[in-house]
């Protein structure tokens, strides 16, 4: 299945290039919710920070971080055009506080901010990151010491924690098999 993605130009939701404070963040958040809800078939939203000069931690916490937490497991949000180190720190601090991982993409290179996968799931996460979508069985096949059941558990944890998205597919056997998607 070819999942749809959409771009959120955060600047278009803001009054100026600078976003600060919880009140301003909450106003932007409401507009973001409306946008997301008006795109029901879209699984991944790429949040472009082009033309956004600065955001403080409170604004970051009330906008994209809260959005990612609200839709965790159902829809994914990732950043693009995030070159400013200070702004990256602020998104990271806000996401960490809410225990929400968020991917940051620079071309084909992705890094996760907020929280990182545990040691036990890190291998599965890195495996998934190299592919648009994957299955637990594929990861298990690449790792001789990991069973399919064990791989399934790892991917499920990553999905529940917000690192990956997943969709239900029909397996060749006729049963249900989940496809896991990286965010972005």
């Amino acid at each position: 299945m070819n999942e749809k993605s959409a771009i959120i130009k955060l600047r278009d939701f803001m009054d100026s290039q600078e976003g600060w404070g919880r009140d301003q963040g909450r106003k932007v958040y409401q507009q973001l919710i409306d946008f997301v809800e008006s795109n029901p078939g879209t699984m991944t939203f790429k949040v472009s920070l082009d033309q956004v000069r600065r955001v403080d931690i409170s604004f970051a916490s009330e906008t994209i971080v809260e959005l990612a937490r609200r839709y965790r497991g159902k829809k994914g949000f990732c950043f693009t055009d995030l070159a400013d180190q200070d702004m990256l720190e602020n998104w990271d601090a806000a996401a960490e506080r809410k225990g929400q991982p968020i991917m940051v993409w620079e071309g084909k290179n992705g890094q996760v901010i907020g929280i990182t996968p545990s040691q036990g799931t890190l291998g599965a996460f890195n495996f998934a990151l190299k592919r648009e979508r994957t299955r637990a069985s594929e990861f298990a096949a690449s790792m001789p010491d990991i069973s399919i059941a064990n791989a399934s558990t790892k991917f499920k944890q990553l999905w529940e924690q917000g690192f990956l998205l997943r969709r239900e597919d029909v397996a060749e056997s006729g049963g249900v098999e989940f496809t896991y998607h990286r965010i972005g």
């Binding site: 600060w20 600065r54 403080d56 931690i57 409170s58 916490s61 200070d86």
Partner: protein
């Protein structure tokens, strides 16, 4: 009872303000119906004291006390500086000023023309000054531009100012505005940014939530709890909030900023160490004369090469 607060003929930073208040009677005391502030020749009020004094004086006026300010040197002295900072524009109208209130506000005439200061700005959630964090940052960077870490400092400073001002919005349920101002002291190699409000104070809003949200911190003293607000990020709204002040403090540490926090009866001076702010390296003052609200000052060096 008339409470007299007489400043010494010296530079008055926040520490000197506290010493002066401690050696006077408590201006918010129950028997006090009049408060006199005397500024003798040679008294030089610094920006951190100026915004705290402004908050205190407006609090006293709001609580129906008669307040008089006596400036011995008149406009030639510290009164002239306070006028330039816009102090009298924000001062309650019923406060008596001797020899006389400035007829024209120097802040209105010259406002925005000196890159080494940002005049006192009022902070009111109903009238959001969206450019204030940028104005403070630009003024700071105008003087800190030679620091080797200037580029990173600029973003950090903006975040700190935005978070501090937003924090006032969160805590101010008051009839008195909050205030912010900045002053560069080239000879002292320092820039001070002071933010002050007369709201409920972090502790008053946080204490009731501590029992349910952070039970392990319940037995901490106010001073230790205050340090933890900046170290751990504690909020009355629960564990997923409180990142603003913590993040601000982390950025201040990164750029070797000193942090001075004054609450109604306590004050903590935090100087950064390698591992951030620690309770055992903080200078703590308990049992201070009452000033409502939260008063924060960050101090950064202008040139770390010196």
């Amino acid at each position: 009872m008339i409470c007299q607060i007489v400043f010494p003929s010296a530079w008055i930073d926040a520490s000197a303000l506290e010493s002066t208040l401690r050696s006077s009677c408590a201006p918010h005391g129950p028997g006090v119906y009049e408060v006199l502030f005397r500024f003798p020749t040679g008294c030089r009020i610094m920006v951190d004291s100026a915004v705290r004094l402004l908050s205190l004086i407006n609090q006293l006026s709001l609580s129906m006390r008669r307040v008089r300010l006596e400036f011995e040197e008149g406009e030639a002295g510290t009164m002239g500086y306070l006028d330039r900072m816009g102090f009298f524009d924000h001062l309650a109208k019923d406060v008596d000023v001797l020899p006389a209130r400035p007829s024209l506000s120097a802040a209105e005439i010259y406002g925005g023309t000196n890159t080494r200061l940002v005049e006192i700005a009022s902070i009111n959630p109903k009238d959001r000054d969206v450019d204030l964090p940028s104005r403070l940052t630009d003024a700071m960077m105008d003087s800190c531009g030679n620091r080797p870490d200037a580029k990173g400092l600029e973003g950090a400073a903006w975040t700190i100012f935005a978070e501090l001002i937003d924090n006032i919005f969160s805590h101010s349920s008051t009839q008195i505005d909050g205030y912010a101002a900045l002053q560069v002291y080239p000879r002292g190699d320092r820039v001070k940014v002071a933010v002050s409000d007369s709201g409920l104070g972090i502790m008053s809003t946080l204490r009731p939530a501590i029992k349910t949200e952070f039970p392990s911190l319940e037995n901490l003293s106010d001073i230790d709890l205050l340090v933890e607000i900046f170290r751990q990020g504690i909020s009355r709204h629960g564990t997923d909030r409180g990142c603003g002040l913590k993040g601000s403090a982390a950025k201040a540490i990164k750029y070797n900023g000193e942090l001075d926090v004054r609450l109604p009866n306590i004050r903590v001076l935090l100087t950064p160490g390698k591992e951030g702010y620690k309770p055992n390296t903080a200078y703590c003052y308990d049992g201070l004369p009452l000033i409502w609200g939260t008063h924060i000052c960050f101090t950064f060096r202008l040139d770390t090469n010196r």
